[in-house]
Symmetry: C2
Subunit: 377 residues, 2 copies
């Protein structure tokens, strides 16, 4: 599982002269190992972020005993390994932090590597860092917080399979949400129906991200669902990220409480066209900032207010990954990337329309990942 | 908001000769400030845990701009303060970590305190710790990770009010769950209904903790809900923790797919009696380990297998707090504590019954926080 990811990482670290490294960002840990705890609720007995220790070419996952089921067969990967510390206990006080630190220092005392140690210092806890210093006797430290991000941009086949399922879950949620939207219903009721649909389909607790906001909100671009009621003629933006085996989807649809007005329909069609136009720009060699500028210009030419957010982004184990489709970004689109595009137009407090699809960039075109109809009228 | 908590903390730190301290555990941060972000989904642009910096008798909250709405009026508390760093931006690359570290170091450069600096090192990120070292020029550090826990044991009136609402939410969830339980329904469907009921009632996204497991599971003590189907004659354990303004509830009920058998009824009545017995033992001066031993002995005398977990615990901004009602714990019960009690009996793969109530310890008795009927047959 995720061997290609570890091979890319080994090559990078070798090139940079790093023989040992400690990864702690949840996105890095899942990307390196496939380990993806199901629930977003952290165990109260967890001793800091889950870790991956790289040494001698292998990547050892360090987590709480309680999380072992989510590590799958990672202990048996030829370049993997699994160390569990004790979380909950009845017989003695909780000692997860001491157990974690002791095992981590012990693991490091057995290290065969030398030279500076790479550490994701934005994420690793100070206790964990202290254990590293004890185990390795105060080594030279090199911050490697963003090193994996460029390696994560081109998705592997295994990742594409996980992403496909995550995008299917978004479609299932849109279907449930659409079924709820009518006058008298609240944002949170629409959200709960969408969330329940995903969880009931897959039979497990699952996080759900993003926005669910009625058009009459003063800030109607996004936000958490509340008790705002949909009235006849209101629309609602539903932007959802589901997660499957650690991989996120993303997508946005707009639904109307009963039949949209002709003005709403016109706006909706226009945003669909903007999305089609954006998709037509995605090909290997295109620059992120050029795509961003062209889509903004398209909306402006249409006479609609231009959206205040990004035109798009990528995703994976993170909800937002590079390349970001934003005004400053010089990065080039490449085959194997997954890109989200979300043109929109808003009049604060009045109207809002955003439609977002995901796609895989291919050498000679794109493959759309979002199947749910863009229009429900 | 939460001034009493800060006063207790000031007194403790003063007694220990600590003039400056950095808190980073989410439970500490909420307890000190009342700051309670609604969603459990961490923003992808967040730069490590939220922080509270204690200096000159004041407690400054440091968090991402996006989270400001959840900080309420904390900026205007006489001994409070709020520093926000930038999270999301379109015009330039995300620089939340650098902004957080710069602001933190700047805040510390203005420090008037002296002497060792207290730090929750299990929780603070290494980047944040590094900023502290830069800002204060490598001060002496004192680990203070568990210092607040004893101060958190006696709840304030403000906390009791939040806890009451959290327990009401659990009751609302039990009601929805009970309405779902019948042959053919899955664990996850029961869970989703319970979760939706809480969210739809309060009109906001809200985390939900704990267990939802059918009696025929091999490990039927607890676990995440799955697609296990309830058949005629099965029972289901539903153990729920809801969260209101940062404060957790906890409670457990057992429901039956149609009418329970006489054996199931007998077991259920017995566990109710065990819970009543446990409650009768809770009074100021009682020792946690004595309560634990007595309740285990009660179950054993009844001829039922004794549960493998704690007899109870406290809660607050953490789902599990001291005093734990466990075999080794010498702590004494005091008025003002909130105690959960959860006697149970299990035959793995066959039957399971656990009933859990929460209560406030008073000088002359207890006040029960859990109103949902213990029995639904």
């Amino acid at each position: 599982m995720h061997r290609e990811q570890r091979q890319r990482t080994r090559e990078l670290l070798k090139k940079q002269g790093i023989e040992r490294a400690l990864f702690a960002h949840p996105e890095s840990v899942t990307w390196l190992t496939g380990f993806a705890p199901v629930s977003e609720l952290q165990s109260p007995f967890q001793a800091g972020p889950h870790l991956v220790w790289y040494d001698g070419g292998s990547f050892t996952l360090i987590t709480q005993d309680f999380q072992a089921p989510y590590a799958g067969d990672y202990a048996h990967e030829p370049d993997g390994g699994l160390i569990l510390y004790e979380g909950y206990a009845v017989e003695h006080p909780i000692r997860s932090t001491a157990d974690m630190a002791g095992q981590l220092a012990g693991l490091m005392r057995g290290s065969r590597g030398s030279g500076a140690v790479g550490v994701e210092i934005d994420s690793v806890s100070t206790r964990q860092f202290h254990a590293l210093n004890l185990g390795l006797n105060m080594p030279e430290i090199k911050a490697i917080d963003h090193w994996l991000k460029p390696l994560r941009m081109i998705k592997t086949g295994e990742e594409i399979a996980k992403l496909r399922r995550a995008f299917e879950l978004t479609d299932i949620a849109f279907d449930a949400a659409r079924g709820m939207v009518k006058p008298g219903i609240t944002e949170i009721e629409v959200w709960s129906a969408a969330h329940s649909a995903i969880q009931n389909t897959d039979g497990l607790r699952s996080p759900l991200g993003n926005d669910c906001v009625v058009s009459y909100r003063e800030f109607n671009v996004g936000g958490l669902p509340a008790k705002n009621v949909l009235h006849e003629g209101d629309s609602i933006i539903i932007d959802l990220s589901a997660r499957h085996q650690g991989y996120w989807s993303d997508g946005c649809r707009v639904f109307y409480a009963n039949e949209p007005t002709s003005e709403q329909k016109e706006r909706h069609h226009f945003v669909e066209n903007a999305l089609d136009y954006a998709i037509s720009l995605i090909k290997p060699g295109a620059k992120a900032k050029d795509v961003d500028a062209a889509v903004r210009a398209f909306v402006e030419r249409g006479g609609y207010p231009v959206y205040p957010h990004h035109t798009g982004h990528s995703l994976g184990t993170g909800m937002h990954e590079e390349p970001r489709i934003v005004p400053y970004n010089d990065m080039t689109i490449e085959a194997g990337m997954v890109i989200l595009l979300e043109p929109a137009t808003y009049v604060f407090g009045e109207s809002a329309c955003r439609i977002e699809d995901g796609l895989i960039v291919q050498a000679d075109g794109v493959e759309i990942l979002s199947y749910f109809p863009r229009r429900s009228f």
